[in-house]
């Protein structure tokens, strides 16, 4: 036993040497015992069954419902919030989407909205973006989804406005006060990391179902970016300018108004952009709690397996998202250069003229759309629009064609993945006795992630058991693991290719960036068409959703390997494959660990949504909690189980990655020391 070279608190030699053997041993034991004990003590619960815990949670909801009118917390604070948010949303809807003021049409019809939006896009950004806006809005109308789009827009705008009104001052406060930062940052982390399905049920408890709850749900997810970026922008203000202004006797308020906010404007507008995109990605989730608009259409399409319908609505969402993204990005670019426009009199005057002319045109359009029917309701058939049905049908036929033509391929993939990965894993994880699975998880955690993670793992496992949803959790876990394995393997492969060939990278990178703009559910639509409503659909959609992030991280990690090291490898005559496997991948271990961790998180959020289209398990239970009143408590418990699962996976994988990194450092140091003769 070479105790001399072991520092205090490091890994004992026997574990260091035999770690891979231990892991292998655990897995073998698991397979053997799992096969022997299959089907026993799995803690399965039929969909309609509830445990006492679920019942008491449902009772809470009933209590809240019956006391809603009387308890001061509800009738006072929460109801005020609800009515306030509701008024904002209805006001916006009355403006652009819903019949209002005893008229059969909204206040501003399609012509008014299109011209107003185009004008606004020009004023905030530039001409190119204005044209894009006009095109996008008209396209959405042509798809026959004008009213739904305006509803979605009203919802999103309401959520974004509230996010800004609360978020920007909060961001300023966080930037200026270390206490605020310490308190607020964990809250922001939770708001962003928690799968959105999870807090829907508690929200309906407080705010009922409907537009207010939908807006608030969107707000929770969308507010953190603007808070963080505002704080960042303020903190990054040029210290010299700040000091100079302070030395001239400016008060804190004057500093904020004249120095910090103007100089942070660019970053704040980026925050507005991020918040808007986040709000858009919530559109479908909001539909689950009766948020009006395109989300409802997608939901209807998905439930009826009408791929065409879901696709059209999804397309409209994507178009609106892209338009808003471009406009807010152009606005942030203008914020950078806007103060330069002052010197060039010519450009300033031209812009003023265009703005004046555009303003007049907008006023005319608004008047027209207020007074005339043709300018108010989008032309074309009421249902399906000018091209809506065409697109609808085209997509449906394309999907059918694809399903038939690609049947051999999809069938093969389905069989391979289902029988090769999903079923075996599900047998091991969900159909083995719960005590076996717990033991395996704890053993693996201890070996790979260390003693400290045991506590987290034990607590999480205990919570899952107590929730009464053990089996469903394990089924969801299986899907998550399968998807993560696939995404890591494919992500690393593609990442290596991209890192090695800059040309391919320049072609593919913009697509990867664009893909991150799209909300998660968009990926469900095509795969539902191809693979039907199965677990596989959710898994494949999750893989596609998480892939861009994993690829980007892997590419960055490989590129970060010092060129000198790679050159040394080449000079010593290594083949390309050897360079990849022996030099680059080992050295980018951290990036790989981060990629796996991020991939896992992204996958979790999609798999959960996939519950809507047949992946069942926890995702399905959360949604069932809304539609079936007696399952409310179970739905709430399912949401909590999702969070616990996420925490378990996140913490354990992070700890394992950290330990691997530490081990690497220790080994490197030992090697260095022995090389130089120190001891």
């Amino acid at each position: 036993m070479t105790t001399a070279t072991v520092a205090a608190g490091s890994v004992p030699w026997w574990r260091r040497v035999t770690r891979p053997w231990i892991v292998a041993g655990i897995l073998v034991a698991w397979v053997v015992l799992g096969t022997l004990l299959r089907g026993r003590d799995t803690m399965a619960l039929a969909t309609q069954d509830t445990t006492p815990l679920h019942n008491s949670l449902t009772d809470v909801r009933n209590w809240v419902d019956s006391h809603r009118a009387t308890a001061p917390l509800f009738s006072g604070v929460l109801d005020t919030i609800r009515t306030g948010v509701g008024s904002l949303t209805s006001a916006l809807q009355d403006l652009i989407s819903q019949p209002s003021f005893d008229r059969p049409v909204p206040l501003i019809g399609w012509l008014g909205v299109v011209v107003l939006a185009t004008f606004g896009a020009y004023a905030l950004g530039n001409l190119r973006v204005a044209i894009l806006t006009a095109a996008g809005f008209v396209a959405v109308g042509l798809l026959g989804l004008w009213q739904e789009s305006m509803d979605t827009l009203a919802l999103t705008v309401a959520a974004v406005l509230l996010s800004l009104v609360i978020g920007i001052p909060l961001g300023v406060y966080v930037a200026l006060s270390p206490t605020a930062e310490r308190l607020v940052t964990p809250v922001l982390d939770t708001m962003q990391a928690m799968p959105t399905l999870v807090y829907l049920a508690p929200l309906t408890l407080f705010f009922l179902i409907g537009p207010p709850a939908a807006v608030i749900a969107t707000l929770i997810y969308a507010m953190p970016p603007v808070v963080r970026l505002t704080a960042l922008g303020i903190r990054q203000v040029n210290a010299a300018a700040l000091e100079a202004s302070r030395s001239l006797g400016a008060t804190r308020w004057q500093l904020l108004r004249t120095v910090q906010l103007p100089m942070a404007k660019r970053t704040i507008v980026v925050g507005i952009n991020q918040t808007t995109m986040a709000a858009f990605s919530m559109v479908m989730i909001a539909a689950l709690i009766a948020g009006p608009g395109l989300g409802q259409t997608v939901l209807q399409g998905l439930s009826a397996l009408d791929v065409g319908r879901a696709f059209t609505a999804g397309l409209a969402i994507v178009i609106l998202a892209i338009v808003l993204d471009r406009v807010t990005t152009a606005a942030s670019e203008r914020a950078e250069t806007t103060y330069r426009a002052g010197v060039n009199e010519q450009t300033r005057r031209t812009r003023r003229l265009i703005l004046a002319g555009g303003g007049a045109l907008t006023a005319i359009a608004l008047y027209l759309s207020y007074s005339y029917y043709w300018a108010s309701t989008f032309p074309g058939p009421k249902r399906g629009g000018v091209i809506g049905f065409t697109v609808d049908d085209a997509v449906n036929s394309a999907t059918d064609w694809a399903r038939h033509t690609l049947h051999p391929v999809t069938d093969a993939i389905t069989k391979v993945v289902t029988y090769g990965l999903i079923n075996p894993l599900q047998a091991l994880i969900a159909e083995s006795p719960w005590y076996l699975v717990c033991a395996v998880v704890l053993a693996l955690t201890w070996t790979l992630a260390g003693e400290r993670s045991l506590i987290v793992a034990s607590v999480c496992l205990a919570l899952l058991l107590a929730s009464g949803l053990w089996e469903s959790s394990m089924v969801t876990l299986t899907s998550v693991l399968v998807a993560t394995i696939i995404v890591v393997v494919v992500g690393v492969a593609v990442g290596v290719v991209l890192a090695h060939s800059p040309r391919v990278d320049t072609v593919i990178r913009p697509e990867l960036d664009a893909a991150q703009v799209l909300p998660a559910f968009v990926y469900l639509v095509p795969f539902v068409g191809l693979f039907g409503p199965t677990r596989l659909t959710a898994i494949i959609a999750a893989v596609v959703f998480a892939l861009p992030v994993v690829i980007k991280i892997v590419v960055d990690g490989i590129r970060a390997v010092p060129p000198a090291t790679v050159e040394a490898g080449i000079a010593s005559g290594s083949s390309r494959w050897q360079i990849i496997t022996k030099v680059q991948l080992p050295q980018s271990r951290n990036a790989l660990a981060l990629g796996a961790n991020q991939g896992l998180i992204y996958v979790l959020s999609v798999v959960v949504i996939g519950g809507l289209v047949g992946a069942g398990a926890l995702g399905y239970l959360v949604v069932a909690g809304f539609s079936q009143s007696e399952l409310f408590g179970k739905g709430l418990a399912a949401g909590a189980a999702i969070v616990v699962l996420g925490i378990l996976l996140d913490r354990v994988t992070q700890a394992a990655a950290r330990r691997a990194q530490d081990r690497e450092h220790r080994l490197t140091k030992q090697r260095q020391r022995s090389k130089w003769g120190f001891q």
Binding site: A241, L248, P262
Partner: protein, 360 residues
């Protein structure tokens, strides 16, 4: 407030950086810890004494230069004088008023009216035009737009930037940006102007121009200037008196000719080693007492005339030049003395109170 001749009176100023409280920065001044060298102090307490027991007095309308290398504590010192950094100990009297006693409101008032600062990295607001940058101090004070723009235009004229009112800072060169910074400080009409290494970021030719600007402005506008620099030549050119700092402590405080002619220790001697003596030393450093057989008909010159300026007169005069102040004869200067200083760069052996050992 009693009328004082000193614009700024600093006594026993200390600034210690480190963890706050008794165990940290507050528990060092006045204890034996204060005597420790810097490395030892940091090791024992984790604190760094950037300014150690500095005392000096700045007279009205004088140009007071604080000089030192990087890490000498001069930037910290000037920030303590305006309380941009809070001193750990010591008093700062601005025109007799204790700065430390001023509350936030009074401090703001003082900053708006009584003193102003020019910064090394200019500190201009990039999103505002030049005229709005210059008028910023007035805007903060609450002066109306028309009024402050008018004053800003006056000041821009003063610093030579007429016509650039509508430009943005990033459209100007470094020298012009610093002029804007200077204008901004002047616009509030302060009693004392602080300069924190204002020309370090500029190239040498522009630096010389800006130094001339400062000299000209001082002659025209006549304010008290406290000037921080690490450039010895700049200090000697601009300063009426110079405070040399090293590692937070005072090394020498005196006029330029005193610093060059009688350096306080080897550090200063090393520092001033390659300064042309003839441009700094005055006749009082090179004169000798009159001997009985000296001709007394040479031209008269004042004792504070710089050697270089006097060289031509002395060298072309037939007889030793008499150094006279208010009718009193202080000494004689002959060509040999001039040549020794200008050619041999031999610093004067001693100030005038001692007899100069001059060879025959």
């Amino acid at each position: 407030m009693p009328a004082t001749t000193s614009a700024l009176d600093v006594t026993g100023l200390w600034k210690v950086f480190g963890p706050s409280g008794r165990g940290g920065s507050d528990g060092i001044v006045g204890t034996p810890l204060a005597e420790l060298p810097a490395a030892e102090l940091r090791r024992r307490t984790g604190c760094v004494a950037a300014v150690r027991d500095i005392s000096f007095e700045v007279r009205r309308n004088e140009v007071f230069v604080v000089m030192g290398l990087s890490g000498s504590g001069k930037s910290t010192l000037v920030r303590c004088l305006t309380r941009l950094v809070e001193p750990t100990a010591g008093t700062v009297l601005l025109d007799g008023e204790d700065l430390a006693a001023a509350d936030a409101k009074r401090l703001r008032e003082l900053r708006r009216n009584r003193f102003a600062m020019v910064f090394q990295n200019f500190g201009l607001l990039p999103h505002r035009r030049v005229i709005d940058n210059v008028a910023y101090g007035l805007e903060v004070r609450g002066v109306g737009k028309a009024q402050r723009h008018e004053r800003a235009r006056e000041v821009l004229d003063l610093v030579g930037l007429t016509g650039y009112e509508d430009y943005y800072p990033d459209q100007l060169s470094g020298g012009m940006q610093q002029r804007v910074g200077l204008g901004r400080a002047l616009a509030v009409d302060p009693d004392v102007l602080f300069f924190d290494e204002p020309f370090s970021a500029l190239d040498p030719l522009i630096r010389r121009d800006m130094q001339n600007e400062v000299i000209r402005l001082h002659r025209e506008v006549g304010k008290t200037l406290v000037f921080i620099t690490h450039d010895l030549h700049e200090a000697l050119r601009l300063g009426d008196r110079i405070l040399i700092m090293r590692e937070g402590e005072t090394v020498q405080l005196g006029r330029p000719d005193e610093v060059v002619g009688a350096p306080a220790d080897d550090y200063v001697r090393d520092f001033v080693a390659d300064v042309p003596r003839s441009q700094v030393l005055t006749l009082s450093w090179v004169m000798r007492p009159p001997a009985p057989d000296d001709p007394m008909d040479g031209p008269e010159l004042p004792p504070d005339m710089v050697v270089r300026d006097a060289a031509r007169v002395v060298l072309s005069a037939g007889a030793p030049v008499r150094v006279v102040r208010a009718g009193e004869l202080l000494g004689l200067v002959d060509s040999e003395a001039i040549l020794r200083v200008t050619v041999a760069e031999d610093g004067a052996p001693a100030p005038r109170t001692q007899t100069a050992a001059v060879g025959g």
